[in-house]
């Protein structure tokens, strides 16, 4: 990191080059698969090839005999020894699921783990898997949520009537009255396919017995080390103090590595029994079926609109195909509840009604993925707004301006009971429209194109609730209510500041952000600050990295701890320097009088504090290690508005993004280049979500997309240059920070969807099913029949 700075230059707001990226760029990152311990065994899993079947028998005799095989274990053999993952019965539908770590009696999706083999190396373990014979009795599979909810449908779980893992009705405000008096009622169907977070690195773990002081040490590619520790201890019947969890460098998370899965827990159980380290690394084929999927929604949305284009009420029906189990910890409620509940987004909605369902099917469970629920909620509403604008002959941007929550109405409580404050919805929309020269774009669009392409323009606005504190519930059914995270600041004997926090980064550079905040609060040079993270044995308690919360929590805790540390530094320095405390300040790691007549480096001060303590009154030398917890209580809304221009080829159905202009409000920015990377990375995923990515199953529940050749994500060719602009306003959280990890994917899905629909509309077409693959585009244009 740069060592020199101008006097009083703030580090917050500066694109500090992150030291934490150096090992990664030099090929010396330590990812999970790079860890190797003496005596380490390797695990491989036998997985179900059936979507739904009863297990009649398992014959592992030949595998057990194979040289190099240490152990083979089935679900039955683990029964009673560990506690399976049980979801809370849904308080509305009563639906409940129990997930054994290895299937017992029944398999419920292709890819579910049935047996584990531990061997001397991975190749032997995989060869042994092939020798295990399982006899199945296939059962009818549930693969369509609309059929699965019917009374006579087969059940994925006996404990889940109508396969509703969750169902919820909600109404607030007078919806019926709004629809009766509406000038216009618009309705729209919307669906979006199944997604994969597609972290470039899959999951994995090394579980070790009695490493240092801990019974169990887990290295795990995961976003939430302390949460993993809590659940490992609970399910393996250990004390939390007996378990240490370390998240090494992690090749992407995006929510997929925020859930609790069976495989890692199986490895922990085996390591304890074998008293040897056990390693498991998920390969890509496994990852495509064994790590959580996302989205997979069908939405029917209606809006009551007055003659001025103001939305009076929203009424929606949502079905989410949540897969075979309620994802452990976050529950099957995540997608259904957030999709329907957050439907109003940044708009003034006084009346809201929805029925939302999470229907169990014989597919991989759906879990959290970047911006859970909101991309589909937002895209369906944005498309509907465009429909209404067209019918009322109002420009789409103007229609949005009439409905966004304006600054002067804040704090504003929406019909979903969320309070919007300190957020720039209208400025973001005006900024994207101005920077994109929206009026000019529309004028150009109106002229006949000479390239035979259909031009479409999409504008979408979004709200993203970030940095949720203890006062905002994550949702019913979620086992965990996160809220407080701690940071420890410690001045070493050399005057160097160590920041310790269990807030892993999968590229978000959380430690760099905390370093910048600490530098400003304490007047310490960046080069005198170092970080410890990701290890429950070294960092204080924290919930970890998810839901665009980490920079908010980490920075807030740094600010609190730094204030106390600064107080202690100045008190001791005043004594040692024999000047009044009020005369002192800290600049570039030196305590000095305001006139600079007297100075003392932090190194000299800490040296005396630690090594000459007998000359210092005890009450002035309490130690230079401070731990503070921070809870922002409420969340902060971040926002954005994106403008997208596409050209659709009516011959091939290919969609090309011609221009992309984003305006965002992400609060006070700590490191602009890092924030930009988060926003642009999210937009790229959103483009993939809107145009390309889809996990496909056949009617029997067999996955058709199990390689990166079948499930295609954008390359550098599909992503245009993103023009990014800011309309930031500080949040009420300490430092004014907001989260920025997720929001942009919401805007991208909405704006791209609207642009494609707008293009098709020029030829009288439309599109309701996404991603907008060439086939769906041609169907939308009437070139291909609807049932293709």
């Amino acid at each position: 990191m740069a060592d020199t700075r101008f006097v009083n230059q703030k580090m917050v707001g500066t694109s500090v080059v992150p030291d934490e990226a150096i090992p990664l760029v030099e090929g010396e990152g330590r990812f999970l698969n790079d860890i190797r311990l003496p005596g380490m065994y390797h695990a491989a899993f036998l997985r179900s090839q059936h979507a739904h079947a009863r297990i009649l028998s398992i014959d592992a005799g030949a595998a057990r005999q194979m040289p190099g095989v240490i152990q083979v274990m089935t679900g039955k053999e683990m029964l009673g020894k560990v506690d399976p993952f049980e979801s809370m019965p849904n308080r509305f539908s009563g639906g409940q699921s129990t997930q054994h770590w290895l299937a017992v009696e029944k398999v419920r999706f292709v890819g579910e783990a049935v047996c584990v083999v531990v061997a001397e190396d991975r190749a032997i373990a995989e060869d042994a898997i092939d020798l295990i014979e399982v006899e199945y009795d296939p059962l009818p599979a549930v693969t369509d949520p609309r059929l699965g909810e019917k009374d006579d449908a087969p059940l994925v779980h006996e404990t889940c009537p109508n396969n509703y893992l969750i169902k919820r009705d909600y109404e607030r405000g007078n919806v019926d009255e709004a629809f009766e008096k509406a000038h216009l009622v618009v309705k729209r169907a919307f669906s979006i396919g199944r997604k994969q977070a597609l972290c470039l690195e899959g999951r994995g773990c090394v579980a070790a017995y009695r490493e240092s002081a801990f019974t169990l040490t887990m290295w795990m590619s995961h976003q939430l080390p302390y949460v993993v520790r809590h659940y490992l201890a609970k399910h393996l019947r250990l004390g939390e103090h007996e378990v240490r969890v370390i998240a090494p460098h992690t090749g992407g998370g995006f929510g997929q590595k925020a859930s609790i899965y069976p495989e890692e827990f199986v490895c922990a159980h085996l390591a304890l029994g074998l008293r040897r380290p056990v390693k498991w690394v998920e390969d890509r084929l496994e990852n495509m079926v064994a790590s959580t999927h996302a989205r997979d929604q069908q939405i029917e949305l209606a809006a009551a609109v007055d003659d001025q284009g103001r939305i009076l009420a929203l009424d929606s029906n949502v079905w989410v195909d949540v897969g075979a189990y309620s994802t452990y910890l976050w529950s099957a409620g995540m997608e259904p509840l957030q999709t329907a509940g957050l439907m109003p987004g940044p708009y003034q909605i006084e009346a809201l009604r929805y029925v939302t369902r999470g229907v169990a099917t014989n597919k991989t469970p759906v879990g959290p993925y970047r911006a859970v629920g909101r991309p589909s909620a937002s895209a369906s509403l944005e498309l509907l707004i465009d429909d209404a604008a067209r019918r009322l002959d109002i420009d789409p941007v103007e229609m949005r301006l009439r409905n966004l929550i304006p600054g002067e109405k804040m704090p504003y409580r929406n019909a979903n009971n969320l309070v919007h404050d300190n957020v720039n919805y209208v400025p973001c929309l005006k900024l994207t429209a101005a920077k994109a020269e929206y009026d000019k774009l529309r004028a150009e669009q109106a002229q006949a194109s000479d390239n035979g392409k259909l031009r479409g323009i999409g504008v979408a606005c979004f709200a993203e609730l970030t940095g949720l504190g203890t006062s905002t519930a994550v949702g019913p059914g979620t086992l965990l209510q996160p809220g407080r995270d701690a940071v420890t600041l410690r001045l070493e004997t050399t005057g160097v500041l160590t920041i310790a926090a269990a807030l892993p980064s999968q590229g978000q550079r959380i430690m760099t952000a905390m370093t910048q905040v600490a530098a400003d609060e304490l007047g310490i040079k960046l080069s005198d600050i170092t970080g410890l993270t990701n290890d429950t044995a070294m960092a204080p308690y924290g919930f970890g990295t998810f839901a665009s919360r980490t920079a908010v929590f980490g920075s807030g805790a740094v600010i609190k701890a730094a204030r106390e540390l600064r107080r202690r530094i100045l008190a001791l320095a005043a004594h040692l320097m024999e000047v009044p405390e009020t005369d002192l300040t800290i600049v570039d790691s030196v305590v000095q009088t305001v006139d600079r007549a007297k100075t003392m480096t932090l190194r000299e001060m800490t040296d005396q504090s630690y090594f000459s303590a007998k000359h210092i009154p005890e009450d002035l030398n309490p130690g230079f290690e401070v731990t503070s917890f921070y809870d922002p209580k409420f969340g902060s809304f971040a926002a954005g508005a994106h403008t997208v221009v596409v050209d659709v080829d009516p011959q091939t159905g290919h969609v090309e993004i011609v221009r992309y202009v984003a305006a965002e409000d992400v609060g006070t920015i700590i490191n602009p280049a890092v924030v930009e990377g988060q926003i642009i990375g999210g937009i790229a995923q959103g483009i993939g979500e809107a145009l390309m990515e889809e996990l496909v199953y056949d009617a029997d529940g067999q996955p058709k997309t199990v390689t990166l050749a079948d499930y295609t994500i954008p390359s550098a060719l599909e992503i245009p240059t993103i023009e990014l602009h800011h309309a930031n306003t500080p949040s009420a959280a300490l430092g004014g920070f907001k989260g920025c990890g997720e929001g942009s994917i919401i805007g991208a899905v909405g704006a791209v969807a609207c642009a494609v629909a707008d293009a098709l509309n020029r030829n009288g077409g439309d599109i309701t099913a996404f991603p907008a693959t060439p086939e769906r585009v041609l169907t939308g244009l009437g070139v291909l029949p609807t049932d293709s």
Partner: protein
């Protein structure tokens, strides 16, 4: 067919002679036998490009190459990019200062691909850079910072491999 074969390879300037299983991939050989874990596996079926290494000056997917195919070859991995004095290769520096990596899992493949590309085309257009990088997937960055980092090398003297 023999199940094992003895091969000689030079990796990052060091000569190795090792007996390997004929079914061992070059990626596993480099990572597990030679302990150069900087090369990453993202798919093991030739799509993502994370495993790209330089073999006799050409970038290859080490997940699709067998170790025995590298017999007699000169290989450079991300660990071998540093200059002799230990400082970073200019493209490593450009990636670092250009915020061109987030999780960093894809980085080794992009660096190796970019070096080969810049040797052939030292002054590329943005479209050429995007085309050249299109066989490497990055899930985090949205590519913009990577493309910019590679563009920032344009016009500079062709960087040489260590």
């Amino acid at each position: 067919m023999a199940r094992e074969k003895t091969i000689q390879v030079t990796v990052n300037g060091r000569a190795f002679e090792k007996t390997v299983s004929v079914r061992r991939s070059l990626a596993d050989f480099i990572r597990e036998d030679l302990h150069y874990t900087g090369t990453h596996l993202g798919c093991e079926h030739g799509v993502c490009g994370a495993c790209t290494v330089s073999m006799n000056g050409r970038s290859v997917r080490s997940c699709l190459t067998l170790a025995v195919q590298a017999d007699g070859a000169e290989i450079t991995t991300i660990e071998g990019l540093r200059n002799e004095d230990g400082t970073r290769h200019p493209i490593q520096q450009a990636f670092l200062e250009g915020f061109a990596l987030q999780c960093g899992y894809c980085t080794p493949g992009f660096l190796i691909t970019a070096i080969e590309f810049l040797e052939e085309n030292p002054d590329p257009t943005e479209a050429e850079v995007r085309e050249a990088l299109s066989g490497n997937l990055c899930r985090c960055s949205g590519y913009q910072a990577i493309v910019d980092a590679v563009m920032s090398m344009s016009g500079k003297p062709a960087p040489e491999n260590a």
